[in-house]
């Protein structure tokens, strides 16, 4: 998305101590830190990033309330984490690949996924997983950490085919770092030195299990060392810092300088304000005061303050952005709710050519639907 030069952050990453405080550009209130240089983003790019974060938050609120009304099924909220998601996707070029998790709604949207499609999936239609033709994005991964070796392999494949302008960005959670697939993926990435960036959204919790129960190491970033991969910690609630660090890592992945490694593991330190999913009750396992404290560093508030302070944003622009995103989300909802599905979808795309036996099973089902009517199929337990 950006072609700016971020050499400063390249340097910052190189010199970063792994157990240091995470890299940040904005203070908790959103004021530019005196020691920091903002990433070279144009006004338009900054406003776009801001609007995307705002849209993500609005979408998230709508989705949670829709789930409560029974209009969509289980949903994984992202409030508190939108800043990091939006920033990592802004750091990608269009040709780069994104491997998202079930919580990366905003990251997917920024990289080109359709909001209405996302809602269709949540309404239980697999059609929603279809990716627009020109978008380099995988459907969301639900089994934890399984995307890590695959993203590595995609990066490897791009490299083997000489696609030097393509890198791969892979999202994962802190819980995911406990799985064997994390180890195997990172290990391969280091050994084959592939153009991949792994962003661990360390939101402090894997459902009810705190980060300290996933690993006894001080930080997640320091694990990178063991794989011969670069590791860096960033304040995941500072969108500018996440952007700068990710952008630098993507550029390095594509064109490392002498004796530099391509792959990076970024630990984006953040917090999940809400429940793990709409089926989860965080009050059982965590203290709400902890959650409150993190809200003081809210990514949307911080970026907003910064943009007001630098006159990039003003009340009039903000109102315009708000109106635009509300309309966009409303349209997506309308489109998703107007969508219909059909039982044929169950057997489509299982194979390129549907095997006879599967077709026969389906035809038998269709005969029964004609005979008894669809109402007879409404509930398994009667």
């Amino acid at each position: 998305m950006s072609t700016q030069d971020d050499t400063d952050y390249q340097n910052a990453i190189e010199t970063a101590q792994l157990d240091d405080e995470p890299i940040r550009i904005l203070d908790d209130d959103g004021t530019l830190l005196s020691s920091a240089e903002p990433p070279a983003l144009s006004e338009a790019e900054l406003l776009e990033m801001y609007a995307d974060i705002k849209l993500a938050r609005h979408f998230d609120q709508r989705a949670v309330s829709f789930q409560r009304q029974g209009r969509i099924a289980t949903y994984a909220p992202m409030t508190g984490q939108e800043g990091s998601q939006v920033a990592t996707s802004h750091a990608l070029d269009d040709e780069d690949w994104l491997f998202p998790t079930y919580r990366d709604h905003a990251a997917k949207y920024v990289h080109g996924a359709d909001l209405a499609a996302l809602l269709k999936t949540l309404r239980g239609y697999r059609e929603g997983y279809a990716i627009p033709d020109d978008v380099n994005l995988m459907p969301e991964y639900i089994p934890i950490a399984t995307q890590v070796p695959q993203a590595m392999g995609m990066a490897w494949g791009q490299m083997l085919q000489g696609n030097d302008d393509t890198a791969v960005l892979c999202h994962l959670g802190d819980g995911a770092t406990s799985e064997g697939d994390f180890h195997e993926g990172l290990n391969f990435a280091g050994v084959f030195d592939v153009p991949a960036v792994f962003v661990c959204n360390n939101n402090q919790w894997a459902i009810s299990v705190p980060r300290e129960r996933q690993t006894a190491s001080e930080t997640i970033a320091e694990k990178a060392h063991a794989y011969g991969v670069e590791g860096v910690r960033v304040d995941g609630m500072d969108p500018l810092a996440v952007y700068a660090v990710t952008r630098a890592a993507i550029k390095k992945a594509k064109a490392p300088t002498d004796d530099e490694r391509r792959p990076t593991l970024i630990e984006s330190v953040q917090y999940r304000y809400g429940a793990h999913t709409t089926s989860d009750d965080p009050s059982v396992y965590r203290d709400e005061a902890e959650s409150e404290a993190w809200r003081d560093r809210d990514p949307l508030d911080r970026l907003e303050t910064y943009l007001y302070q630098t006159d990039v944003l003003n009340a009039e622009r903000e109102a315009k952005i708000e109106a635009r995103i509300e309309a966009e989300v409303a349209t997506a909802i309308e489109t998703a709710e107007a969508a219909e599905t059909s039982p044929e979808r169950m057997i489509e795309h299982v194979y390129e050519e549907t095997p006879n036996r599967l077709q026969e099973q389906f035809d038998e089902l269709s005969t029964l639907r004609e005979k008894y009517g669809d109402d007879a199929f409404a509930e398994v337990l009667g």
Partner: protein, 338 residues
């Protein structure tokens, strides 16, 4: 608990759901045997995502009810080691669809420790996992892949369909000297209650239950499909005068071939109902067992009423995928009227 008999310890009962039956099974065994421990993702403070372990952490502490890191191979692999060391681990896989990282530990090791060591080492381990569709869950949360484990010699595969069986079968599984896959039909975790004895008791592994006696056809099923099968059997009796015998297998491995065959010899006709994909499912095993052992009694082709040979769809279409009463009824009628 008003009746005089019920006040006598040992005959006390309580009305429980299936998931509460699971919890009671864990609870009574943990009380009875301090080698029993529970481990898995979110099983401690959170009491499990389905609340199957609720209260156990408070009662037995974090040393016996252990929240592990998010790593299925680590959970089952370490449980094998715990079992080898003399403990009685009960490992929870959060959903069957997420147990594949542990597959290697299960099939390469848990299943064959006894045979590999020529009986020197054993693996008294229970792996619990909610399985099956019908609860509007996201992708990967609705699979029914019991056949994978049935195919592995050395593993036992148990699936309860009632609260009382859930408690008794789980108790037997924990006391069993071999590794047991205990698969829990989450569609009926909370669908109904029944009287469950408060005392500790076992329901033997390897024994099917005849849920409904009948003379026209034997219908074999297990887990969540037992309910719609019984509904279908009632409808068939009322509307068509067809008298179904319904056999709930309860243990898929080792299969209770005796009960399967005896029922077939009585009725001469069979249907199998399962929500797993039809091809290579346990239904094929049951049909073949009947063919091998009771061919001369057979009066009609054996019907499989099963999930499609396609991934279970997201929730909008899952009711079309899973067998439900009309499909079961129709399949049974076709067999009876052959």
């Amino acid at each position: 608990m008003s009746s005089a008999a019920a006040t006598e310890a040992g005959s006390m009962t309580e009305r429980l759901t299936l998931v509460e039956g699971v919890r009671e099974g864990l609870h009574t065994e943990m009380e009875r045997d301090d080698r029993v421990m529970v481990l898995g993702e979110d099983v401690g403070k959170n009491g499990g995502v389905f609340r199957a372990t609720e209260g156990l952490y408070d009662e037995f502490g974090g040393g016996r009810v252990v929240d592990t890191p998010l790593a299925e191979s680590g959970i089952v692999g370490s449980a094998i080691g715990l079992a080898l060391s003399g403990l009685r681990p009960v490992a929870e896989m959060q959903f069957m669809g997420f147990m594949y990282p542990a597959f290697d530990q299960l099939v390469s090791h848990a299943a064959r420790l006894r045979s590999r060591s020529h009986g020197q080492y054993t693996c008294p381990l229970v792996v619990r996992a909610p399985y099956g569709g019908g609860i509007r869950a996201p992708e990967h949360h609705s699979e029914s892949k019991e056949a994978f484990f049935v195919h592995e010699p050395g593993l036992k595969v148990v699936i309860p369909s009632t609260p009382a069986d859930a408690k008794g079968l789980l108790t037997a599984a924990i006391r069993d000297p071999d590794p047991v896959m205990f698969l829990e039909p989450k569609l009926i975790y909370r669908a109904f209650r029944e009287e469950v004895p408060q005392k500790s008791y076992e329901v033997s592994l390897g024994e099917a239950a005849v849920r409904r006696e009948g003379s026209d056809i034997s219908v074999y099923t297990w887990g969540a499909m037992t309910r719609p099968t019984l509904i279908a059997a009632d409808n068939l009796a009322d509307e068509h005068g067809v008298d179904c015998e319904v056999v709930d297998l309860r243990t898929l491995s080792p299969l209770d071939a005796g009960t399967v065959v005896a029922s077939f010899e009585k009725t001469g006709r069979a249907a199998v109902v399962h929500e797993a994909p039809k091809t290579g499912g346990v239904g094929a095993e049951i049909a073949t067992t009947i063919q091998e052992e009771a061919l001369m009694y057979q009066e009609a082709p054996i019907k499989r009423i099963a999930g499609l040979d396609a991934p279970i769809p997201l929730h909008a279409l899952e009711d079309y995928y899973l067998p439900q009463a009309v499909r079961i009824q129709d399949g049974i009628l076709e067999t009876v009227e052959f």
